[in-house]
Amino acid sequence: MICEQCGERPATVIVKENQQGHLIEKHFCHVCAAENHNINFSFDQDPMAIHNLLANWFPKQKSAVSPVRRDALTCPRCGFTFQKFLSLGKFGCAECYSTFSPQLTEILKRVQNGNTEHTGKIPASYGTTLKIKKEIEELRKQMQAAIQEEDFEEAARLRDQVKLLNEKLEGGGNIGD
């Protein structure tokens, strides 16, 4: 959509105006919106619903798709089909993540700013080795940040922590289990 005021730039801001009890929506580009002094910005809870986005990115599959393929895209645990996932924008269970995995990377990339892999917290019960590896990765990042901020004391503390964890890893995953 093009800005209603300048007719040049793409409209990126929706302005809601109350005119004699009627709510009127106007579409402006960010420049015209900034110039317009009598407006309130509208921040809808969900500026664009996820299922609308997904449905546009993954247009309906043609029914010519072979039955085998369609079966492959039905989650055996909760019965969600890929189409149902697209229309709701939600998964039915944990297994949907493996069922729809061929498309999942693409979906996550789009809703997660290009990211596809988790780097954060891991449940303690999940496995000591993986947990330690991820912790080391995380500490290294924090160490880099500390060095950049010239907080060398903190960086040294983090380095020692990394060293300790590395020793733990080399000694096998059993220590600290």
């Binding site: 960010h30 900034a34 921040f43 969600f80 998964f91 996550l108 988790h118 954060g120 019960s125």
Partner: protein, 363 residues
Amino acid sequence: MAIDRFLQPRASSWMANNGEHVDIAMSTRIRLARNLEEFKFPYAFSEDEALKVDKAISSVLLDKGKECGYDFTHISVEELNELQREVLVEKHLISPYLANSQHSSAVLLSDEEELSVMINEEDHMRIQSLQSGFHLQEAYDIANKMDSLLEEHLSYAFHEKFGYLTSCPTNTGTGMRASVMLHLPALTMSHQINRIIPAISRLGMVVRGIYGEGSEALGNIYQISNQVTLGKSEYEILQDLQNMTEQIIEQERRAREALNANSSLLLEDRVYRSLGVLTHARLLNTEEAATCLSDVRLGIDLDLITNVDMSILNELMVFMQPAFLQQYAGRPLEAKERDLARAELFRERLADNGINTKGEDFA
């Protein structure tokens, strides 16, 4: 009934007015989304499963919560009438989604209302930690501690590559949404906010106006939160949000100084007019009340007003909402009646210069 104490116009700890940068950053919230491995997610599960999920999570929190120093009260959503649900939404203790839940859902609330665990919202569990002021790390530590406690007793839906598995792909990974509520009157008045918002969105964060259906930035209050939950660790997400918020706070301070330097008489006039409205009006609608509250807040921050307690303004922001007013009045009120009740509430509360005792009812 156990629920009663949470429905009273009693200040939650997150409404207190303390903490760093509290003049601008009013409150901080961390939310962690978690699901249990053995059950289907709420979009697909049966009523029977919903009950089992509630039981599994609640029993851990009710039994073991004390180990972490929390006494939880379990409240089933279906036992609440519409008004009671609305009151909990207005207090930010449950989400509108949970209030309208179609299946068995519940909330566990800590005594001070700084922790709430929603069960069978969009995910099996939403751990929410609320803090007054700008305290991302503290709020996270509390939520994280509760998460680790639950995880000891329950098995989570987790994937090595994708992290915590959630109903919506926008939450996959850390399952964490961190947000800070900011009062930005000077940036709004000087229209600089219009340039800041697009910049923030480009950095993987979102800005929203808070409260009210249309969610315009009523009362110049904005909520800034992380959008991305995958590929960044909790630490990085919090750091990014911390940095961004600090920059906005700095900008707001500069804008306030400029405003004060360039148009101090106009500003003073506006602040005192708003105080006049809040202390003397006979009818007050939500929008006017929110605008005047924002002005008076700014007046206090700029030391123009010295005899009003800020924490009372925080409470009024919550208690002036429709469901609270009706709860207070003990009956349903039409919009016009609410405006009358709202004006009364403000007059009463501000009459004694707002000298506040924590936890005291305004009745």
